[in-house]
């Protein structure tokens, strides 16, 4: 049977996996929503774009919901602290996310250009605001956020909403937005034809260029100007969930320690950059022939950006800048051994089932969505 320490590590992997699932699937919808206004001009073109993700957006969004619920179940302190600490950021994301289900379902129900184009704008906002906020949140995680616990483990957060918008965090926001736009662009390039595909390929190249530079600058800043967190003592990987009992220090560039100790990890950011580059090159020179490979490269890029950030911070998941000793790590802010084991079994059963039926649905719905098709099914399509 797995011991507590192994279980905790498994859960670090699972949470990471769920976030990757979220970025690769729902992130793609967000990228598509972000591109909608620019790659499709007429109502029919916009419907083509929307219908490439039409049957899947709701299932994709569940990756996000499940990731949040898994945080609640496996890392309750992280869920409690991050969600209440980032209160307005979370509310902003939430209100933006309201727009997507309504836009998808309501947009084409009324035949009025004004009605439809307003929903298109809503879809844009509902896609780009969360993408930006998630990036900004990640940027703040890497710098640490100001919180501490009292003797009853009640958390107090002392930061302000505006303080979240610092240069490094904004740059992380740019990484996140451009990464998802690239991802959405490779998807549209693969699933549409003609003008829409061409415009998507073009937008994808631009997004890739922005993403590559922003990601590289982030890397340099992490090495040069950002303090990483280091556990000095008092952290027992097999111990109870008591996040206030360790000693933590800050030091410049310490987020690179894991990479230096385990050089294999460098592959993650390097391959990530190469994949973004590959996607961009395909979109530039062989957008039609290798559309699938461009999409896969972009998906891998998304996944590895998450892997890179997570491995830099390991074992931290929510460092505290005001009380570094109270930082939350994947060893000491977790659920009980019983709950982690139970939930591991649940995940082991259901994730393969979910992937199987999701893949089946994608396969059944797979085709190049065309203007002609939308015209034919104008009363049933989104």
């Amino acid at each position: 049977m797995l011991d507590y320490e192994t279980l905790k590590f498994c859960w670090w992997l699972i949470i990471g996996f769920l976030f990757i699932g979220f970025v690769v699937t729902d992130g793609m919808d967000m990228g598509v929503g972000g591109l909608l206004l620019f790659v499709a001009k007429t109502d029919l073109e916009r419907r083509v774009v929307i219908n490439t993700v039409g049957p899947h957006w709701d299932g994709n969004q569940v990756w996000f919901i499940t990731a949040a619920a898994a945080l609640f179940a496996a890392w309750p302190m992280v869920y409690a602290t991050a969600f209440s600490g980032f209160y307005f950021a979370m509310m902003l994301t939430l209100f933006a996310l309201f727009l997507r289900p309504l836009a998808f379902d309501y947009r084409s129900k009324i035949e009025s250009t004004r009605w439809r184009f307003n929903w298109d704008r809503a879809l844009f906002v509902g896609s780009m605001v969360p993408a930006l906020v998630f990036g900004i949140a990640f940027g703040n995680l890497l710098q640490g956020v100001p919180f501490s616990f009292d003797e009853l483990m009640r958390v107090t957060y002392t930061g302000s909403f505006l303080a979240l918008f610092n240069p490094f965090a904004l740059l992380s926001g740019v990484v996140s937005v451009s990464m998802l736009l690239l991802h959405g662009a490779t998807w549209l390039n693969m699933r549409t034809e003609g003008d829409i595909a061409k415009r998507s390929a073009k937008a994808g190249q631009l997004a890739a260029a922005v993403m590559l530079s922003a990601f590289a600058i982030c890397g340099v800043m992490i090495a040069q100007s950002i303090d990483g967190f280091v556990v000095v003592s008092g952290l027992d990987p097999s111990g109870l969930a008591q996040p206030t009992k360790k000693i933590v220090e800050l030091s410049r560039g310490a987020w690179l320690n894991n990479f230096n100790n385990m050089p294999l990890l460098w592959l993650s950011p390097i391959i990530s950059l190469l994949m973004a580059l590959l996607a961009a090159l395909i979109l530039r020179f062989a957008a039609n022939r290798f559309a699938g490979i461009a999409f896969m490269a972009s998906a891998l890029n998304c996944a590895l950006v998450i892997v890179t950030a997570a491995s830099a911070m390991f074992p931290f998941v929510l460092p505290s800048i005001s009380f570094p000793n109270h930082s939350l790590t994947m060893w000491d802010s977790v659920s009980s051994e019983y709950t982690l084991r139970l939930m591991l079994v649940v995940v082991a059963i259901f994730i393969p089932i979910i992937i199987t039926y999701t893949a089946w649905c994608y396969r059944r719905m797979w085709r190049t969505v065309t203007v002609q098709e939308i015209e034919q099914h104008s009363h049933t399509a989104y």
Binding site: P55, A68, P76, A80, F98, D105, S108
Partner: protein, 528 residues
């Protein structure tokens, strides 16, 4: 100290967002089965009208579903954003069913809802029907896990407090799974959803019959809804969750509050039909009572007593005093004085720790509480009676009216006389809001009746909040109210537009507005 304004605002925000979300959930729960029934008939008989029924009611279902998804996101966020101490204190237990809901139910429902709307041309008939079934199962599983989570809040078994981690930890998953409160709640809630779905289809079909439009379509829809609705309303009433009121302290308190029973009556207790409960003198004035009924409903026996609120409060007082002792030991343990005596002392009293925490409202240290403060905590240990008393009667009253309507609808439909009973069709149309009245008041009884606890006997609501500024919550609450009102207006506008349009909205060329000349074609063309 506790910030009472913050607590009040947080409660209002949660109540508003949860009740608003639950305007859409029951219709989704009920409609998925109705759609499955209709589509199954289509697949079995091959008669196109049943496919049209599935598609048309599916359109209305979709309008409702989208806003349900949107408002559901709030619920997933809100424990963390506004109830962070709650999330920490019980996340080990409460988070599990929520995560299982996502993995087992939400993915299933949301993946196949896409197939339901857009997979008609790309799946075979049987595949599509199987997808509809999976969507319905996903929706109902989702309700199951949410009610297991909620049932645990009402009757928190299968978990232990751990002073080292300062939280509740899961010790027996099977206990929270088989929690009797959760079981009855699940059946009661999904059956209520089936009633909502049935009433929705029944009322709108009545409207078409009254207008004399699309009669074949309307009458078939009416039949499905009358049959399914009658079975469902019987389930809701007979398997009402009264049977869950015997287990768990909070449930006993809730039962006494529902009945405004301040004094313990000799068994079997009388049912208070109506009256004026007064928490100050702890008496129910002008009560009209029906002998025996309540004792039989609540305890399913003639001999068992329903304990009154005065006696329940008396029972709570020693527990609060015991809770003070538990809190004293907890402080020592948290300060590192983990001696065997302190651990033993804490373990002997920790079942009353929650009662000790009730004093946190009056004194930060708890152990120094005065007699007056203890008295106030005792008074706090049961919820205000009148709102629960009246909400419950509103729920039951709505249920009774619906029962009569479903019986009549079923009877006259079976005798093929429904077209001539215009008074009944009008009554059914007017009764459309009743399921929602019953459902919302039912949730109010369940959750307001749980007060002062967030988790029964374990965590008082006022301790469960996040450490936010009052202005933060005022801002988010105002935003919720504004945005939800706008969303509701858009949704209702679309819903009414499509409901009025009827199956002509499918553009098959077979229905009312499509066979008419130009005067109505403007309406037709502006909908798709």
């Amino acid at each position: 100290m506790i910030n009472e304004t913050l607590v009040e605002l947080s409660r209002w925000q949660f109540a508003i967002t949860a009740l608003f979300h639950f305007l859409f959930v029951p219709l989704t729960i009920g409609m998925t089965w109705i759609l499955f029934i209709m589509e199954a008939v289509f697949v079995m008989t091959g008669r196109e009208i049943y496919r049209d029924m599935t598609k048309f009611w599916g359109k209305l279902f979709g309008i409702n579903f989208a806003i349900g998804v949107a408002t559901g996101l709030t619920m997933e966020f809100e424990f963390g954003t506004n109830w962070s101490y709650y999330s920490h204190y019980v996340g080990d237990v409460f988070g599990a069913p929520l995560a299982i809901e996502g993995l087992m139910a939400f993915f299933l429902e949301s993946t196949f809802v896409g197939m339901f709307f857009l997979g008609w041309d790309r799946l075979s008939r049987k595949q599509h029907l199987a997808g509809t079934l999976l969507m319905a199962l996903g929706t109902n599983f989702s309700a199951l896990w949410i009610l297991i989570a909620n049932g645990w809040m009402q009757n928190p078994i299968g978990a232990e407090f751990n002073y080292q981690t300062m939280r509740m930890e899961l010790v027996s998953f099977s206990e929270i799974l088989l929690n009797p409160v959760a079981q009855v709640k699940f059946i009661h809630t999904v059956a209520a959803g089936y009633v909502a779905g049935s009433m929705f289809v029944l009322s709108i079909s009545s409207y078409y019959i009254l207008k004399g439009r699309d009669l074949a379509f309307a009458k078939r829809s009416f039949s499905v809804a009358a049959g399914f609705g009658l079975a469902s309303i019987f389930s809701v009433i007979l398997l009402g969750d009264e049977s869950g009121y015997e287990v768990g302290e909070v449930q006993r308190v809730k039962l006494a509050a529902i009945e405004a029973e301040y004094h313990t009556e000799p068994a079997p207790a009388a049912f208070t039909l109506i009256g004026l409960p007064n928490d100050d003198d702890m008496e129910t004035h002008y009560a009209i009572k029906i002998p025996y009924v309540m004792g039989i409903i609540a305890t399913r026996s003639l001999a068992e007593q329903v304990i009154g609120l005065r006696d329940l409060q008396k029972e709570h007082e020693p527990r609060i005093r015991n809770g003070m002792i538990a809190y004293g030991f907890l402080q020592k343990l948290r300060n590192g004085e983990e001696t065997p005596e302190n651990i033993a002392g804490f373990n002997a009293t920790k079942q009353d720790l929650g009662y000790g925490l009730l004093l946190k409202r009056y004194t930060e240290k708890v152990v120094d509480a005065t007699e007056a403060q203890i008295k106030m905590a005792v008074k706090d240990s049961t919820p205000p009676v009148a709102p629960i008393f009246f909400a419950f009667r509103l729920m039951v009253g709505s249920g009774m009216v619906m029962l009569i309507l479903f019986i009549l609808a079923f009877y006259f439909n079976a005798r093929r006389q429904i077209e001539t009973k215009r008074w009944l069709l009008k009554a059914i149309l007017l009764a459309l809001p009743l399921p929602w009245v019953a459902i919302e008041t039912g949730w109010f009884v369940a959750e307001f009746g749980r007060q002062p606890w967030a988790i029964s006997e374990i965590l008082p609501t006022f301790m469960a909040t996040s450490d936010l500024a009052v202005s933060d919550v005022i801002l988010s609450l105002s935003a919720f109210v504004t945005v939800y009102i706008v969303m509701f207006i858009i949704e209702m506008w679309l819903m009414i537009r499509f409901a009025k349009m009827g199956p002509s909205a499918l553009h098959t060329g077979r229905y009312h507005f499509e066979n008419l000349s130009d005067d109505s074609s403007s309406l037709r063309q502006s909908n798709s």
